[in-house]
Amino acid sequence: MTLYDLANPTRFLKLVKVLLPWLIVATVAALAVGLYFAFFVAPEDYQQGQTVRIMFVHVPAAQLALMCYAMMALSSIGSLVWKHPLADVSAKASAPIGAAFTFLALFSGAIWGKPMWGTFWVWDARLTSFLVLFIMYLGIIALWKAIEDPIKAAKVNAIITLVGVINVVIIKFSVEWWNTLHQPPSIIRSGGPAIHSSILIPLGLMALAFVLLFVTLHLMSMRNEIMRRRIRAMRMRAASVAPAASSNTVTKAAPAGAR
């Protein structure tokens, strides 16, 4: 099966149908194992205590937030260059998932930050970048909702997504620069000491589980979007057929009506 075959929505739906049960099982299993390791196997931090376990959700969520944007950007290139509707669907499906992961990263960061720094929020470079990323996701979701014609919406969103890619890089740089300007000692150390394997293994497991979760959610979301578009197409077909039928019945019942 080539990529081109896959790109047909019907084939894609069939493939999704085959893959999805396995993916769901794999995701649940990986999450279960990952969370077990994270909560029961990984040691407490000698400074942070139990709260360090938030990291096992926070870090993968943050990774996925960025991965979703990458997925969205790649799909956008697909819809602008190859004008493929499935790329449109993929881009549209990525946005809410990305927003959810970004929110999860921000939220877990906040509840982690409270015991750590004594506050839910600091204007740290990474937190700020993620907040901006979150706003960008929400803007893109709003733009999808605001334009009725899905093909036009896809192109417009692709343009703003790709401009956003450039912007994410500039924002990351400028926010880091701004951060060093305003608060000399950064609270979160970016490098940090080498992480011990007892933490690294659960973290890796959770990262894998989150990637599986993303793939599952993305495929489900794409499937739903394809169905939504089919319903739309069917409704349009119904609309273009209905007047002829109804006008016939009207003329029989009431000839020379108001029209």
Binding site: P9, P85, D149, M227, A233, S240
Partner: protein
């Protein structure tokens, strides 16, 4: 003199995910008019917009033989649609001069750009020269229409795409406009007009569009949802 020939083959167009045009074929050359006919909603306007490059075509080819090689069909064309493209706060003359200076002229297939009317000549031809220094917002609907036509006269372009050209015009203005279109055809121009009223023009061909009956081959239109759900039920049963 070289001749222009606009060749349209198998053009299809989707709008809003629905096929509105399918298998449109025609040829129209210099000194000819093509009248696009058909009931409402059959895609007359869409066809003109496809030729004008405003709407992407889904299939088919659209080529201008004998035109300037580096220019698209749209860049040889004037589009005269429902909107007048007038700025009410600018004077009539300002509106017209802008388009005269801004629009890139195109030649009629003979390699040189023709002289066009000046702004005042065009306004006189259309009988609205007295409004030249008034803001365009003060014009009546018919006068706005005529000012919009003046744009076609001040920039030489061989193809005129006219979407219901006589709407909002009275009988006298309609006569003037038809005269101008006839002049354009006689001067070697190409006219494509979408209309549901008969237009009396020389050298006329007709293209009758009928409603699109074939299903769009749009990727989300062809199949039903059933195949996804039916098999699920069979699995359970």
């Amino acid at each position: 003199m070289n001749q222009l020939k606009l060749v349209c083959q198998g053009v299809a167009c989707d709008r809003g995910g629905r096929r509105v045009l399918n298998h449109v074929d025609f040829e129209v050359g210099s000194s000819e008019a093509l009248i696009v006919q058909g009931p409402n909603g059959v895609g007359k306007s869409s066809l003109l917009r496809v030729i004008a490059g405003l709407v992407a075509k889904a299939h088919g080819s659209l080529e201008l033989e004998g035109g300037m090689a580096e220019r698209s069909v749209a860049e040889h064309s004037h589009y005269f649609g429902h909107l007048d493209a007038l700025k009410p706060l600018q004077t009539v003359l300002e509106n017209l001069s802008f388009w005269r200076n801004f629009f890139e002229p195109a030649d009629f297939g003979d390699g040189k750009v023709r002289e066009s009317m000046s702004e005042m000549e065009a306004l006189e031809t259309l009988g609205i020269e007295h409004t030249a220094s008034l803001p365009a917002g003060y014009l009546s609907a018919g006068q706005r229409r005529r000012l919009s036509v003046a744009r076609l006269l001040v920039v030489p372009r061989p193809i005129w795409l006219l979407d219901e050209p006589t709407s909002a015009l009275d009988k006298a203005s309609e006569e003037v406009l038809l005269g101008l279109i006839a002049d354009h055809i006689n001067a070697g121009g190409v006219v494509i007009a979408a209309t549901h009223l008969p237009l009396n023009l020389p050298n006329t061909k007709f293209l009758n569009l009928s409603p699109v009956t074939t299903e769009s081959e749009h990727m989300f239109a062809g199949e039903d949802l059933d195949d996804y759900f039916d098999e699920d039920e069979q699995d359970e049963g």
